[in-house]
Symmetry: C2
Amino acid sequence: MKSIVIFGAGNVAIHLFLALSKAQNFTVVQVYNHTSKSLKFFRNRVSTTTNLKEVKAADIFLLALKDEAIPAIAERILQRDALVLHTSGATPMGVLNNFTNYGVFYPLQTFSKEKPVEYKDVPVCIEANSRAALELTEELAAEFSEKTYRISSEQRKSLHVAAVFVSNFVNHLYAEGEELCHENNIPFEILHPLIFETATKIKALDPKDAQTGPAKRRDDKVIDAHLELLQGNRKKIYELLSSSIQQLHGKKL
Amino acid sequence: MKSIVIFGAGNVAIHLFLALSKAQNFTVVQVYNHTSKSLKFFRNRVSTTTNLKEVKAADIFLLALKDEAIPAIAERILQRDALVLHTSGATPMGVLNNFTNYGVFYPLQTFSKEKPVEYKDVPVCIEANSRAALELTEELAAEFSEKTYRISSEQRKSLHVAAVFVSNFVNHLYAEGEELCHENNIPFEILHPLIFETATKIKALDPKDAQTGPAKRRDDKVIDAHLELLQGNRKKIYELLSSSIQQLHGKKL
């Protein structure tokens, strides 16, 4: 049984903890966080600490921290022979190069405290500095998920941007759609099947081939009528995304 | 058994035809389109015509046409006592007011020729000018789907804009994400679970509460690193959507 200390107490830390509490060969022995308040979720489940000097010895230190906290915390970890992994999409592996064995364990999913996740379907992007580090990281990833990908720091930077586009920005468009419904006394649930189908469709079709709508078919009359209804950021988003769709599809002609 | 003539031969016409071919109380007796080529799909399945003078008598004329074609075709339909419905999100019901009974049958879904759809889950937005028209439109909608909503022309305008945001624009963000993966030799499938989870999450959480990512948490370092990787429309989209997320969430503070 290999031991793990999780650093951090946010959404990612919580979901890693929950997933790893079912693992066969790994056990979370402690959760560290710099403030006590955020440790509430963990307190009755596992040993916790806010003091870096009290961090237990472990086989793996899993840094589920904000990007800016990763180098600062890594510097202050005393045990240097553990495998140290961070979970960030945006931070290069090299910030951990004070350790002998280090790497990245980046679960590519959107985690909210309130929403359970089927961990076995969450792709884990891994990277490691040595064969030993890679083997242990792979073993950990295999306990977490059925889908593991070797992704370099360079690739991960772009992948993280792509994830922002297809998840964070997409969710914001859902939020704009919901406000539009709300303002017009339309139940937002009416859009759920469309949202779901749009997301499912790209398993069968390339997103470029799946594109539909007034911008794609260059229906200026509809576009103008829509723009008349909009203002502020919503209008700017409509204009920019319509023009971007037309440029992407214009290139093909 | 009530008879239907479908006008139009695009994605919506094809899917309406497929759905109604299983209906108990309705039968499609003919499909009209102004060009012969687009009628290929229908030719061995039902009577077709490119000549408005040869359109059969029917109980319902279903205009699954481009917005600009709706008034022009409606004007040239000779039989005035059928129920005439259009399927557009963007056209007011009133363009059909030359008829005695008319209305709107707007299925709120993204239809591609290549992708089957579970019709019973597709919300149908209906509107009609008279009690008789409404009853027949409701009966038709009930054959097509389990979800029928009464939506006025005024509401439908905004709903159509909302649909563009949560479907057409969302799909374009998927396309940008795919290109980013492609340019960096990352398999796009790695993003499928994230896309799917982002779409599913809003059934459990309000999209505003589900928002995550660097813009939401005002992580300027990550935002700046992302912007450095981007250019052109992609950079503009990143800037505008990040700033829109921050405005939406700033208001709450």
